[in-house]
Structure formats: structure tokens, C-alpha cells
Symmetry: C2
Subunit: 240 residues, 2 copies
């Protein structure tokens, strides 16, 4: 029997109409698939219901991607049985900040087709919106949470920008956004460019790109909410 295909299905980033951030093809495939490996089943069911209110969500086979062993076994069985399987994250693109990548490795090992679908990514949207170098950039995920190590990491990223110009991108647990912003304002050189993008693709999307020295406490206040946020330091691209 022909094995199934593994589809990587992006989710919304926050409160947004699906047609604002997902192409028709992504929506159509997500509506058609009957088997999913997902980060959080409850979140996945909500997303699938939004895409297809008429669908009986209980009829869709959904397994959590953690713990890994049973999820991998189930995914392998589905693919072997010829079922197409969707990998779905709680937000944005699967495989970027969730356990999705291991199912891709599984599919490659089985020789099963892997199809990445288009959707929103805060890393990419933040990079586009920053005006920083988009030819050379690094995404670091989360920085260390302990202040001393975090500040040392920030200084190191700043050196990367200064010496190579490459954009440095990172995220923080939303309830620590305020603390990270304060640390950035305190630690970075006043003329190092800092871009912060919050609630990307939502109605209250906000993007601010300023030298660190101009990130006043009033400016920082605007981004302190517990909302998904992406942080970028880099060199502002100009025409000269």
C-alpha cells in the first residue's frame, strides 16, 4: 500500500481570521486531514473547529506529540496504513518551537513525502518588519532565564551584530517580556538597534524599531503585556 504524506500545517499566531494568515490550500488540507499529531490536543481541536465549524471534531484522530514514543509509533502506523497525517503546532509553523521536527525525521526515515505548508511565522514576520539584514540572521529561541547569564547572552548577540551585521532574533516567555525589555535597555549600547514586534497578524499588532537608548520606559511599557512577542537586534538597512 502507498504510504501517507506528512503535511506540516501552520496554525494562527493569535487572534486572526484564518483567511488573513493562511492560504486557501493550507486551509483546505487542514480541513481534509483525518489524522493529526499536535502540540496540545485542545488547542488543535479549537483551530480545526474554526476552520470547519460544520465538522465533528471528535471524528478526527488526534494524538499529542508528547510523550514522544507513543506519538511516533502512532504517526508511523498511520503513515504505513496510507493515511495522510498533519503536524500542528499551538501557534505558527510546526517544527520551529515545538516538538514537530521529530515527526519530519520519522517521515524522512520512512521515505514518506513531507509537505511544508505556508502560514504565519513570528520569526519571519518580525524579520521582515525590522528593516534589519535579512540575508544573515540567527534565531536563538529562548535566552537563558537567569539575569546574569541573560545579560551576558545579550552582550554576545550585540557583538555579533557589531562585527558581522547579522540579525539576532529571540523570544521570551510572555510574562517575562517586561523584564527582558528592561534588561535590553540597560545592557545594550544606546545606538544598537532593537526591534520588538508583538501580537503579529492580530488587530493589536505593534512593531517598534528604535536605538536601544531611545527605548524609554514609556516605550517599553507598551510592550509589557503577556502577549507573544519577538525581539530582534540588528543593523538597520539603509540605501547608502
Amino acid at each position: 500500500m502507498k504510504s501517507g504524506t506528512l503535511y506540516l500545517v501552520p496554525n494562527l499566531l493569535g487572534v486572526a481570521a484564518p483567511s488573513d494568515v493562511l492560504p486557501e490550500r493550507t486551509i483546505a488540507i487542514a480541513r481534509r486531514l483525518q489524522h493529526f499529531v499536535v502540540e496540545t490536543p485542545k488547542v488543535a481541536r479549537g483551530f480545526l473547529k474554526t476552520l470547519a465549524p460544520e465538522r465533528t471534531i471528535a471524528d478526527i484522530a488526534i494524538i499529542a506529540s508528547e510523550p514522544a514514543a507513543p506519538a511516533l509509533a502512532q504517526c508511523r502506523a498511520w503513515l504505513h496504513e496510507g493515511h495522510d497525517v498533519g503536524v500542528l503546532s499551538d501557534a505558527g509553523c510546526p517544527g520551529m518551537a515545538d516538538p514537530g521536527a521529530r515527526f519530519v525525521t520519522l517521515a524522512h526515515g520512512l521515505g514518506t513525502p513531507v509537505v511544508p505548508l505556508v502560514g504565519p511565522s513570528s520569526v519571519l514576520l518580525g524579520l521582515m518588519a525590522s528593516g534589519f539584514d535579512g540575508q544573515h540572521f540567527t534565531f536563538h529561541g529562548y535566552l537563558p532565564s537567569k539575569p546574569a547569564q541573560r545579560d551576558e547572552a545579550l552582550r554576545q548577540l550585540e557583538r555579533q551584530v557589531r562585527h558581522h551585521g547579522a540579525t539576532q532574533i529571540f523570544i521570551e516567555t510572555p510574562y517575562r517580556n517586561g523584564a527582558l525589555l528592561d534588561a535590553l535597555a540597560k545592557t545594550l549600547d544606546g545606538d544598537t538597534m532593537l526591534c520588538v514586534a508583538q501580537n503579529l497578524t492580530s488587530d493589536d499588532e505593534r512593531i517598534l524599531c528604535l536605538p536601544a537608548g531611545q527605548w524609554t520606559s514609556a516605550a517599553r511599557q507598551r510592550f509589557q503585556g503577556k502577549a507573544p512577542t519577538i525581539f530582534l537586534i540588528g543593523r538597520a538597512q539603509r540605501g547608502d
Copy 2:
């Protein structure tokens, strides 16, 4: 007068139906905008015609992003006059491998809103499809073209993967895909994972992810065409 908004409008990556890779909102905004800064005017006109066959393309104000000085002056004037302006690349997301970022810097300097729209990115789709670490990755753009420097760069990227696990992503001018693949097979350790993704989002999309030692000349042959290709080396994520 209220200044305009700068929209970052992703283009298709190759031959694909717009609705396969662009959300309705991206298409609607691209169809509505009357002012564009674009990488190549002819390519932009073709794209806008595809999105809106009924539109008289000659009525749309389009300026090439190079040379920079007149393009920046025009973009500034449009925004001042209250016009919304689209930034459009020849393929994929503006600001990533084109001169788009400088217009974002201009808009931030003017205090004009910047709105990044969702669309396809070969860097992101390649990363998703690789099964490599998506929490830590670097995009390098083009590697050096001279063989000795290129091979040294490859060895350096391989060390990054070995020591930190971070995914390393790069591109090549399409007519040199074959030479780069041969260099990868020759230079990398046999067990270093190499993923190559070509014609992403097109009907002839192909993705292969294998240890470098298993990239036989037959495998490499399949990717030698002059087609847009993304190269990734990294650590395959597993469940253990």
C-alpha cells in the same frame, strides 16, 4: 495629512497558484495597492496581473528598489502624500534576499506603520521540511563562490552543527547548485545530515534529507537543475 502604511507583500516562490501560497488578505492588499517599490518591475507587473487579470497594470505606480536614492525619495514622497505603499520582491518575502529592508528602515524613521504580510519563504519552508532544530538556526544567504573558501565555510558550518546543534541554512545561485552539492558530498562528514529542498510550493517540489555520505551522485543528479534550491545542514530531531 495621515501618512501611508508600508505593506511588505510576499511574492510567489515559483510556479504556484496564488491561493496555494498567499492568504486572502495578502492577495486583497496587493490588489488594492496603487504604489509599489519592487525588485524588478517586469516581474512585479507579472505578479500583479496574475492576482488581478482585470487590472490595468500600467495604472499602478511602480518604482525599482535599485538604485536606492531615487527609490527611497519616491517611497518617502508617496508615504508623505498619504499613499499606502507595497514592497515586493521577485520571489518570497521582501526584506530577506532583496533590497526591501531599507524601505522598512525609512518607514520606521518616518514613524509610518509597517505591516508584514504572510506568504511563502523558502528558508522557513525548508527549515520545517528538514526535521532539523527549529529553535536554533542561522541563515547565511550565499556562501563564498570560490571553491576553497566555500569548502572552508562548509566545514565551519558543520562544526557549528556538531558543537551546538544549530541548523545552518544557505542558498546558491541556481546554475551552481550542482557544484555546491558535489562540494557538500565531498567536504562534509559522511554522517552529517544534509537536507536539500528545491522548487518549494511548486508541483515539482522535491525535498531530500540524508546523511551526506548517502548523497550519491544519482541523488545529487536529481537536484542539479537550475531551480531555486535551499540547503540545510543540521541535527535530525528524534524522540529520544
